[in-house]
Symmetry: none
Subunit: 248 residues, 2 copies
């Protein structure tokens, strides 16, 4: 993750409206921080600060103690260039909600130019229609329709995770820490393997069937590391040495 | 979401190993159910059943009460064709971890043909190296590197969410026509391989180093088909027969 992406995430605020359980505020702070989101805004929380919020924040006390408390959602949205209201009942509303992954991509672009808010309602009934209308975009986290009851902090986790993934860009395929085997090394392995299979009588060169083809496919699929090739060739050499000693 | 996708998700079990806090078991059950995952397996949970688990499961009591409790991870993995071990410290391990999104896509394909396990360690230190070795794939949830401390239930939520997204993508590749090897069949192969390596003198039981561990990892990663296991065991038997004939 480059410094630029981190500075863009730093422009994203998570706004929790009318949260009932202080534990959820702490758990949300922790969820945010794991994904590089540091700005928490609370609109009329029922109890804050609170020991339970602190306990569940684990190592995210900095996020919690920097939280801003507002009296209205309008105040919480001041200065933002884009806001995303999360709702579990997108079908009841007149304008379509976007999927959280699409929303994260949009939010990241907007955060490139200004402040952005991700807005979550209270535990019991979520954001009211009046609150949703203040948000520029409605966002839906896809769930099993028959049981869409995501815990508040878990909804924040999924949203924060998608922000991080969007910022990390094309899914960072972690480069393998170890060198992979080259095509030639694989070919040497296959030749060596074939010799040993013939010499032990498992492979009849007159009737090879598709044995080598199948073994090839298996090892190619495994994407062998160089070190693994060396181990496998060591095994083959041990079998050969054994055969030589005992056939002599 | 088509019925086919739901039935595929039904083949995914979430395995929680050595969970300390029963509340996390309940919250994980809720997280699973929101995303269509219904099969929970607990390996040596500290306290289960427990009132706190029930409280945090909210509407997911069915998942909780159907949970299976096992004494070992090996038992929990019995009958699976693919298993994914989640870890927060992928860099410490010698083989590369895949990103959770990529893992979900792979898991979904595997669930098209058999049972699949998503495996999570305890709250304090996650899965041990010994436990990770039993999993076919290591999985990493991308986070802010300086604060990667995802709560257990939130890690389950992100993984379950990615499973749901993968299934909803309906880019379900048709399942491979061939049966994959089960966990037990692989274990038989590893025992057989170890015997042959010892008898041919390649593996010194007094100084095994990490040879079997490396070979295990290679073959687990390849996701062997049943037929391939049969071929490999045929090769091992041929080597053994050869040795017996010539040592007599």
């Amino acid at each position: 993750m480059q410094g630029f992406a981190l500075s863009v995430l730093a422009r994203v605020r998570v706004v929790l409206v009318s949260t009932s359980h202080p534990g959820n505020i702490g758990a949300a702070a922790r969820a945010m921080k794991t994904m590089g989101l540091l700005r928490l805004t609370l609109v009329t929380p029922k109890s804050f600060p609170h020991a339970e919020a602190a306990a569940l924040a684990a190592g995210a006390h900095d996020v919690l103690s920097a939280a801003r408390v507002c009296g209205t959602l309008a105040q919480a949205l001041e200065g933002t260039v884009a806001s995303f209201g999360f709702t579990a009942r997108p079908r009841e509303l007149s304008h379509a909600a976007v999927d959280v992954r699409e929303a994260a991509a949009e939010a990241l672009v907007a955060a490139g130019v200004g402040d952005v808010a991700l807005v979550f309602g209270g535990e019991m009934s979520g954001l009211s229609n009046e609150e949703l209308i203040q948000c520029g975009r409605l966002v839906h986290i896809p769930t099993q329709p028959a049981f869409s009851s995501l815990n508040l902090a878990q909804a924040v986790q999924v949203a924060a995770y998608e922000m991080w993934q969007a910022a990390a860009g094309a899914r960072l395929e972690r480069p393998p820490a170890v060198p992979l085997a080259t095509h030639e090394e694989l070919e040497h392995l296959f030749r060596h393997l074939e010799q040993v299979l013939v010499s032990t009588g498992f492979l009849d060169p007159a009737h090879p069937k598709r044995l080598m083809e199948r073994l090839r496919r298996l090892f190619v699929r495994a994407r062998l590391e160089r070190e693994e090739i060396n181990i496998l060739r060591g095994v083959l050499t041990a079998v050969e040495d054994f055969r030589r000693r005992n056939s002599a």
